[in-house]
């Protein structure tokens, strides 16, 4: 017999593992496809939209869904399909950008505070407490007043207030992880703190972080609608799902389709995000057994 080749088992990265596991979760995969499809359609909206989003036809007015206007028209005779697509661009953008900002700040802040501990931790978390105590709407309004109104700034401003909870969650996780043997081993091997954080600590917090992130996305979408309503966010004729819904609700008895379709779009997105978040949490758990 030949000597068995000393082939080390091919190491699989965390991400490969996660992908393999996620593939088996049908609901999560379906959700991922729906989301990607939505993002894709919203990205190419300016080229495929049947009408202009600000294009009015006052004589036509509000009409229920028809062959020319698949989702009907609003009181100005604007095509709802076009408006839902354009609204999706804003809503999805605000959802992803603001959540990414929150994710980035929150995870780093929480990981550092939890891992370093001691006085640093106390100071960092007190800062979080202080920011928590500020009414966040006032905080956003202040940011908008100081830096002027722009959509991108609105995204960043929302992200800048949404990271606080994330930081707390991550810190709680890290406090537990820090005492694990593999961290002690890594420290004993002399790895620099940053590498330990990056390779061992943060990946282990991903489960709850991802779940929380999928919850944050709908939250910021609604926050955007609220701010726009106050005159601080998107202004007509631009729109977002949140705004379309709040305007649609005003006339839901007369023109129900103005509420139903943007509502449906938002609901589908949120469901998909939730299922995907569930799937990702299971898939990304590094403690789960390797297949």
């Amino acid at each position: 017999m030949n000597e068995p080749a000393l082939m080390a088992e091919q190491g699989t990265s965390l991400w490969t593992d996660a992908w393999l596991r996620l593939r088996n979760n049908r609901l999560a995969v379906a959700s991922l496809i729906v989301l990607l499809l939505l993002v894709f359609v919203c990205l190419i909206t300016p080229w495929i939209a049947p009408y202009g989003y600000e294009e009015q036809n006052l004589e036509l007015g509000a009409t229920p869904p028809s062959a020319e206007h698949w989702l009907g028209t609003d009181v100005y005779g604007r095509d709802m399909l076009t408006r839902v697509l354009y609204g999706g661009r804003v809503s999805l953008m605000v959802g992803f950008i603001a959540t990414s900002v929150a994710l980035l700040i929150g995870v780093l802040w929480g990981a550092v505070a939890g891992y370093v501990g001691g006085r640093t931790d106390a100071w960092m978390m007190r800062l979080v407490d202080i920011l928590y105590a500020l009414p966040f709407i006032i905080f956003i309004i202040l940011l908008m007043v100081v830096f002027g109104r722009s959509i991108l700034l609105l995204f960043l401003a929302i992200g800048a207030v949404e990271w606080l909870t994330m930081a707390r969650i991550v810190r709680g996780q890290v406090l537990g992880i820090r005492r694990q043997e593999y961290i002690e081993a890594a420290v004993a091997m002399g790895l620099p703190t940053w590498t330990i954080l990056r390779r061992h600590v943060i990946p282990n917090t991903l489960g709850p972080v991802i779940v929380y992130a999928t919850l944050t996305i709908p939250q910021v979408m609604l926050l955007e609608a609220f701010l726009s309503f106050l005159g601080l966010g998107i202004q007509p004729p631009q729109s977002s799902w949140g705004l379309l819904i709040s305007y649609g609700a005003e006339t839901m008895e007369e023109f129900p389709w103005l509420l139903v379709f943007p509502g449906l779009a938002l609901a589908i997105t949120l469901f998909a995000l939730n299922f995907l978040g569930d799937g990702l949490r299971d898939a990304l758990d590094p403690k789960a057994s390797k297949d």
Partner: protein, 523 residues
């Protein structure tokens, strides 16, 4: 027994449940300014005269009769001997003189003090140019005789007397709770207030309701049918409409525009829509560089398709306006200098240096957050974009911010509206004079000021006066510091059991006339 609705119990107990738009700022007739306050204050207090809600003609109230001198400048009022304050004190001519003296205190800061300015020397007293109140044309000759002397014959003077800023207040009560010139003292609390109107304040629950009950000491109490009124502060039209449908309100302050077709088709008996002496317009800040050119402003005015806007988005309930004074006010015909004309508008814009909108910097259109203002702004924004190829940003603001930015001139174009305080073109024209606090556009024209402030008050005849007003309004519309959009209509939902609350040009209600009669077929 199932739950009884407000309307059912109200009809049984003769209590009117009244949707009243917003939470009142206060109840001091000399301090408050808004429409919700007006509705409450005129239930609690009574001026020298009031109006008939059917004809809008002036009727005696605290004064039982009056004489006017031949030159139309001296009014002598005879007060009722039987008029009483709600604590039993008689209502005297001295009370009126003292109340008006109080309203003219600069420290009180009455926003409506200009209503007094037709009275001789009132403006100079208010400005501190004269110290002695005896020089002002207000004199209590005896307990029941009041003489008022005017600067000029003022045809609308009697109407002013029915405005709450000229209502009397009870001097001992005011003095008891503070200085006469102090606003928002405790005198208007339910346990303190003393008033002379058909109703007295019963209870005020913030953001819930304010209730008044019949004043048994009122001189005409036998005629008052209602036992009380409950005013509900509801500022959202859709909420108000749902409460009305649920039988919680007898009448509403407004109707959501998109709901009107349903009522027209199904319950036309419930909607009351009537022309209303008010103008909806956009103020243009003429101090802004892009808007300083009159041709730009004219182009903006000409490219708004008012007919289509009103017939589609607004369900046809308003009248398009091309000038600021509503049509037919006391026989007045406003000038019509322009029409919807996109071609002409584009030419004007090109002449101003922006052919096809090129190089035009754009501007911001601000409006106070409200469903209807937003609807109109979105349509107008698109009309300007389509007809002139210029981009306009919309900006909605909270009421106080909006008002502050407008007053300080921190705006480009701002939504505005003006409800006539009395039936006379003057109420729409004196606001655009250069010194007026509500002008806010930077428009100043010496000829206009002269016509409105100097010549019209001294006009020899009614016809000549209207002619002067017409000339003034022509100047105003040539300069176009405002873009008129439509003439208001009042729109209410009113339960069939409500009697004596007719639609009228001023949306005026006189609670003495109101009664509740449950229909026979109702249980």
């Amino acid at each position: 027994m199932g739950g009884e609705t407000n309307v059912e119990s109200g009809n049984r107990l003769k209590i009117l449940h009244y949707g009243n738009y917003g939470e009142p700022q206060g109840l001091d007739p000399h301090v408050v300014t808004g429409v919700p306050e007006h509705h409450i204050v005129s239930a609690l207090f009574e001026g020298l005269v009031q109006k008939n809600p059917y004809t809008l003609e002036v009727e005696p109230a605290a004064a039982k009769s009056w004489d006017v001198s031949a030159d139309g400048r001296v009014y002598t009022f005879k007060l009722r001997e039987d008029a009483r304050w709600s604590n039993g004190d008689p209502v005297t001519a001295e009370d009126f003189a003292w109340s008006w003296w109080r309203a003219l205190q600069p420290a009180l800061g009455s926003q409506y003090v200009f209503m007094y300015f037709p009275i001789k020397n009132a403006e100079r007293f208010f400005n501190g140019e004269i110290e002695d109140f005896d020089k002002v044309g207000i004199k209590a000759l005896d307990q029941h005789t009041l003489r008022v002397e005017l600067n000029n014959p003022t045809p609308y003077f009697l109407q002013l007397l029915d405005h709450y800023s000229l209502f009397p207040v009870h001097p001992p009560t005011i003095k008891k709770y503070g200085e006469p010139h102090e606003s928002y003292t405790r005198w208007t609390r339910p346990e303190n207030i003393v008033s002379n109107g058909p109703f007295v304040l019963e209870e005020w629950r913030l953001f819930k309701y304010l209730s008044v009950r019949k004043n048994e000491l009122y001189w005409d109490a036998a005629r008052v049918r209602l036992n009380g009124i409950r005013f509900y502060p509801i500022d959202k039209q859709t909420t108000e409409e749902r409460m009305f449908r649920a039988g919680q309100l007898h009448s509403t302050e407004d109707i959501p525009i998109d709901r009107i077709p349903w009522y027209r088709a199904n319950r036309p008996d419930l909607i009351k829509i009537a022309p209303y002496v008010g103008s909806y317009l956009y103020r243009v800040n003429t101090r802004r560089e892009a808007l300083a050119d009159v041709r730009v402003r004219q182009a903006l005015a000409m490219s708004i398709d008012r007919e289509t806007l009103i017939n589609t988005v607004l369900n046809g309930i308003f009248t398009p306006a091309y000038a600021v004074v509503p049509d037919g006010l006391l026989g007045y015909q406003p000038p019509k200098l322009f029409d919807y004309n996109p071609d002409k508008a584009r030419q004007l814009l090109a002449q101003a240096g922006y052919p096809n909108g090129e190089g035009f910097p754009g501007f911001e259109l601000q409006y106070n957050s409200h469903e209807q203002h937003r609807k109109i702004a979105i349509a107008v924004q698109q009309m300007w974009n389509k007809n002139l190829n210029i981009s306009v940003q919309l900006q909605n603001k909270d009421w106080k911010v909006y008002l502050d930015d407008e007053t300080t001139g921190n705006y480009d174009v701002s939504r505005g509206g003006w409800i006539g305080d009395y039936v006379d073109p003057n109420t729409f024209l004196d606001m655009w004079t250069s010194e007026s606090g509500v002008n806010r556009t930077g428009f100043a024209n010496a000829r206009y000021d002269d016509l409105v402030l100097q010549q019209a008050p001294r006009a020899a005849s009614h016809e000549q006066r209207l002619e002067l007003f017409r000339e003034a309004e022509t100047i105003l519309m040539e300069n176009m510091p405002i873009l008129p959009i439509y003439t208001y209509s009042s729109k209410h939902l009113v339960h069939p059991s409500v009697q004596g609350m007719p639609s009228n040009y001023m949306d005026y209600k006189n609670y003495r006339y109101v009664d509740l009669q449950a229909a026979q077929d109702e249980n």
